[in-house]
């Protein structure tokens, strides 16, 4: 009972935060000191047209009404229209969001599969060469500007070795010879579903470098965090008791200690998920990846504020929910949580 209450409480809090977030996003977008109506109608429009546009966009209304109108539209799936392209933003989002998500998800998989085990091993073999090399690796990853790593990877694999493509999600040849049918927007899934294996391989080749670049920071972070928590957990009496009961190394490290260490690690992972979404922006620029990041950066530079607000909102919503997810996970793993 306590657990369910806790989860509901967290959900409500998350919703509250979302409201706050949407208000702030809205306010910040408003700070952009240009006139959206003027941008909307273009520089050569007559003052009357501009006024009409102003009314149409609801810019004459008091701020809070504009906000409410905005929220209503968002909840209905209407994110407004791009000031530049006049296209509904939600259409753009349908293309760009999966592109970025695919990148982020693959990068999260790398993080989980590489970061956590390395952190555990680092703690288990503390102060040996395994530990030291893993820690050096981690600190380098955490200190590297992700866009620089992206450039380096391009330098190595594209320029020097010629193994991988320079950017984009698919190569032009594939787009013509084996076009990808958009089902989910996740190209790996879409090509697999249709058995389009040549396209699948091509998509993978395009995905590899950006997701590795993106994963680097999170990998470094998870190694450090997992190691730190594991080291602390391994000093606990209940681990000594486990050794005293003759349990094997594999059981103690991966079955017991990891469970005790997992919660802070998950928190870090959720943090790095968000970081990766923002980091994706930087990686997308380098790899010419048609995702949310490129979309957002262009919108900022062209002062297309509906886009800026929409993207900011979406990313933040992801953030809030991933935090919520971690809280709920913690409540499920740790039986003591609901008592707090």
């Amino acid at each position: 009972m306590g657990k369910v209450e806790y989860i509901i409480k967290r959900l409500l809090l998350a919703l509250l935060v979302l409201v706050g977030v949407s208000i702030i996003t809205f306010v910040i977008a408003r700070l952009i000191p240009s006139d959206p109506a003027a941008l909307y109608v273009g520089p050569r429009a007559k003052p009357e047209t501009r006024e009409a546009a102003r009314i149409k966009l609801g810019l004459d209304r008091p701020l809070y009404q504009q906000y409410l109108r905005y929220v209503g539209e968002v909840l209905r799936g209407d994110f407004g229209i791009s000031v530049r392209s006049r296209r509904p933003i939600v259409d753009d989002l349908k293309v760009f969001l999966p592109a970025t998500l695919e990148l982020v998800l693959l990068s999260m998989i790398f993080t989980l599969v590489i970061g956590i085990p390395l952190g555990v091993l680092s703690a288990a073999f503390k102060d040996t060469w395994v530990d030291h090399s893993s820690r050096i690796f981690a600190v380098i990853n955490v200190s590297m500007p992700v866009f620089w790593l992206a450039l380096l990877l391009q330098l190595l694999f594209v320029r020097q070795l010629g193994l991988l493509p320079v950017g984009g999600r698919v190569s032009k040849e594939i787009a013509i010879l084996a076009p990808i049918e958009r089902i989910t927007g996740f190209y790996l899934v879409d090509t697999a579903l249709r058995g389009n294996w040549s396209a699948f391989r091509d998509v993978l080749q395009h995905l590899i470098l950006p997701s590795v670049a993106l994963a680097s920071y999170a990998i470094g972070l998870s190694i450090r965090m997992t190691r730190a928590t594991m080291v602390e957990v391994l000093q606990q009496k209940y681990i000594t008791a486990a050794w005293a009961a003759g349990l094997t190394r594999r059981t103690v490290y991966f079955k017991l200690a990891l469970k005790n260490a997992i919660v802070p690690t998950l928190m870090v992972l959720s943090l790095s998920f968000v970081w990766q979404v923002s980091g994706a922006m930087l990686v997308e620029i380098v790899f010419l990846w048609p995702g949310l990041g490129t979309y957002l950066v262009n919108a900022i530079l062209t002062i297309d504020f509906p886009i800026v607000v929409s993207v900011a909102l979406i990313v933040t919503v992801f953030y809030v929910f991933s935090n919520l997810f971690v809280d709920v996970l913690q409540a499920m793993i740790d039986p003591r949580v609901s008592l707090e």
Partner: protein, 303 residues
Amino acid sequence: MTVKREKTPGQAQSAWSARFLEYGLMWRALRRDRLAVISLAIILIFVLGAVFAPWLAPYPDQALGKSNLAEKLDPPSAAHPLGTDDVGRDLLSRILYGSRPSLSIGIFVVGLAMLIGTPLGAIAGYSGGWIDQAIMRITDIFLSFPALLLAIAVSAALGASFFNAMLSITLTWWPWYTRLARAQAVSLKEQTFVEASRAIGVPGFTIIRRHIIPNVLTPALVQATMDIGSAILMGSALSFVGLGVQLPKADWGNMLNVARLYFNDGPWFAIFPGLAILLIAMCFNLLGDGVRDVLDPQSRRTG
């Protein structure tokens, strides 16, 4: 007749002086950590490089923007140890000058964030009640934004400049210190020496100033040392996107932004500025690790 207020023996050594003593001892312990010492040395070299850049740079005018098209995209040579950029400017000089905005952002952002966030958190934690709730809700909302995104959005809204970049990054950073300080303050509040102070009627604000804040300072400083590296990274990310220091002024981030277009012809242009960022961030991280191990071995933060 004025009453001379005698200093009670306990009062003579306030929490502040105790802190300074502690830091002296910690410094000696830190000296034993070789990685931390090396990192500190490298950081000092960078700082000196930044301060004395106009004298150290072989081509200071190129660093400030004068182009030299004849030698554009030259590989590293005797004349240009790190090569030249897309308009022929000496990379070594540009990198030296570029250390200025990077280091300043790192230090100022973290310093400001700590200055704003720590007292706020201390007040929130100690006061409790609606003050605590209000401050923490605002903090939570700021924390729900992905930092880079918020920084980019605010920076764009305010206009692309170094100062605005610094401001927007600080805006994303202060909540962490508030949270940290609040957690500390809450646990300190329960301690007997605070209760004792309250019992003899010391006003809340004084308690915060004299007891809470100095004790909160230690974890804050540990965090700050590590954060400087991350702040530098974020600053360079902002200028990479075009929102920080504007060309032709040299900045590691904006240099990489141009470099990516020329990576085929001039890979050194892409390598060296990034290497500088990596190096300085690593040093701050390692230094932060060392500081944390010495000042707060119980801390379980990333490391």
